[in-house]
Amino acid sequence: MRNTLRKVILPSIMLILAYGFWVSPDFKEISAGVAIFLFGMLALEEGFRAFTGGVLEKILKKSTDRMWKSLTFGFTAATVMQSSSLVSVITISFLSVGLIGLVEGLGIVFGANVGTTTGAWLIAGFGLKVKISSYAMPMLVFGVMLIFQKSKSMKGVGYILVGLGFLFLGIHHMKEGFEAFQNSLDLTAYAMEGIAGILVFTLIGIIATIIMQSSHATLVLIITALSVQQITYDNALALAIGANVGTTITAVLGALSSNVVGKRLALADVLFKVCAGIVFIVFMGPVMGLVDGISSVIGLADDDYTMKLAVFHTIFNVAGVIIMVPLINPLIGLVTRLFKSEPDIHAQPMYLNEASLEFGDTALEALRKETARIYEKAIGVIAKGLSLDKEDILSDAKLKQVIRVHGKAVEYDIDEVYEHEIKSLCSAILDYTNRLSADEATSRQVSRIRLANQSILITLKDVKHLQKNMLLYIDSENPHISAEYNRLRQRIAKVIRRLENIRSQEVSSTSILSLDALKLTLEKNMGLLHGRLDELIREGHISADMAISLMNDSNYTYSIINSLIQINHNYLKSEEGTETEAEHRIALNREEINSVLSDEREVAERR
């Protein structure tokens, strides 16, 4: 039912949008702006991903490890870029790829809010507006050039530049689209006194900033309106509050394409600005007194409202940060509750805890259970990576049939699950084993569990490589290449099924030795594929490119199956006993497996 609904919703939305585009060119421009902006976010995240675990991560970690450092970082960035929303958007992409945490991210966003006040001073004092959006086109050009480079970090920088370029371009198109509405905005029409005036102008400030995609642009509008006395000073302050709230729209838009952590940051940003806005509306009277006081101290004339607005803007943002920094933990608690993260729930170790660490046997059991859990997860990922379904692989259905049913290539982001679930669980295991003080025998078992986890990571990386061509060829029009790739899928699925049977056998049933038959099949299939590959090339059934892909991917398949066997070997072997030891000694090594294989070949030839 849900699937059918999904199938209906997307085309319906597309139809509605298409109608909208036909009816209103402005709507088309705005939508295109949003799309370009979101694409920019994706490119930005792709760029930052290239730097995870590298220099950028170290720099970011070092410059945000204390709250004051995060605040300074945000302040400096926003002062240089002259846009707090852009800093928020970049922070969201940092968060999405795990370069920084939510606390650090919020620190940067808060700092950026103070940094953005320098813009009000520049506008009010010098009428100066730094227009960073004019760099969009060069950024795109240089970015694309860098993307074509071989070096990973060059590519990363390229994606970041392209991402920023698209962000600016997207904002530009949104602005263009909204221009029609902007021209019809006559502030005098809404002039009102008292609290009603403040509320209405706050709302206008929010709307105007959403429309113009820049709180700076709203500030320019306010200052102009104020200088020609289109609006009162109170209303101008309310507009500035609204502009500050409205500017969060960029972060909200950015969070649309981000993961749950990015969404949390965007929500925290909105809450922060809304709270600060409410506080300032409530205390508008005393705040105006404070602004007047500070203005007279720094020597501003009583009627120099434009500079006073800059003072107000600064007080507003600095006070907002002073109010919110002590409340950062409750704020994080709230946004985490509101945006529950599914991957994070799974990524928490279930069995590893401090209590079990005390006792060698219990700790070992906890490690075994946790490893089994990661393995289960990994099998699910492998199945999806091969455009298959885990339940179907483990069912009683014939595998040929299963492969036929799942004949269409389905995109699946292995990296996402790898980064957010498997990798964090494996590191939790590694961390746990490092803290475990164990005797010699336990250490041996622990080291096998560690090896099993290592093999899980290797397997997933190999599946990721294999997935690339598999998506291309499993439903290819060339029946020969599609048959070969489906055969590779079937072989992996067969091994997964067989391993599941072995794992579900009783411990007393020589499980380790059962793996030898799989090793034999692995070697045999490799030989068979080489033979078939020669024939396919000779007969001209597949192109040279296809042949190279197939050769590489059969090696990946070999490695995946081998790792799967190794995982189970080390996992089963981690339960030590005299029989396990004996099984290990009897288990056939690669040469012995090959000798069984050559005996088999001889018998076949004699026939």
């Binding site: 007393s508 020589t510 030795l513 030898d516 038959a517 004996a582 009897i586 497996i593």
Partner: protein
């Protein structure tokens, strides 16, 4: 001071195992190998029955392969056991 028989036996066994740790180790290995070999023999018999009953060619081929592996494993196990016993007799 008097010892009852059970306690005497227990103490003697401990003394013997202490004096003869290597032999004990060999005995344990012997036990382990023998048990696994027995299980393999049982498994071989079971597989033969499965092969006889299997109609699907692919499935039968896989079972036959498994049987070959088990035979090699048994062969290896028997060699290991006999060399272990030779070592114990020396």
């Amino acid at each position: 001071m008097k010892f009852d028989n059970a306690l005497k036996k227990k103490l003697l066994k401990r003394l013997k195992s202490y004096m003869n740790a290597e032999a004990e180790q060999l005995q344990q290995e012997d036990d382990g190998l023998s048990k696994v070999l027995k299980k393999l023999k049982k498994k071989e018999k079971h597989l033969k029955e499965l092969i006889a009953a299997e109609r699907d060619d692919d499935e039968r081929e896989m079972l036959e392969q498994e049987l070959k592996v088990i035979r090699s494993q048994r062969k290896k196990g028997i060699t290991l056991l006999s060399s272990l016993r030779k070592k114990g007799n020396k």
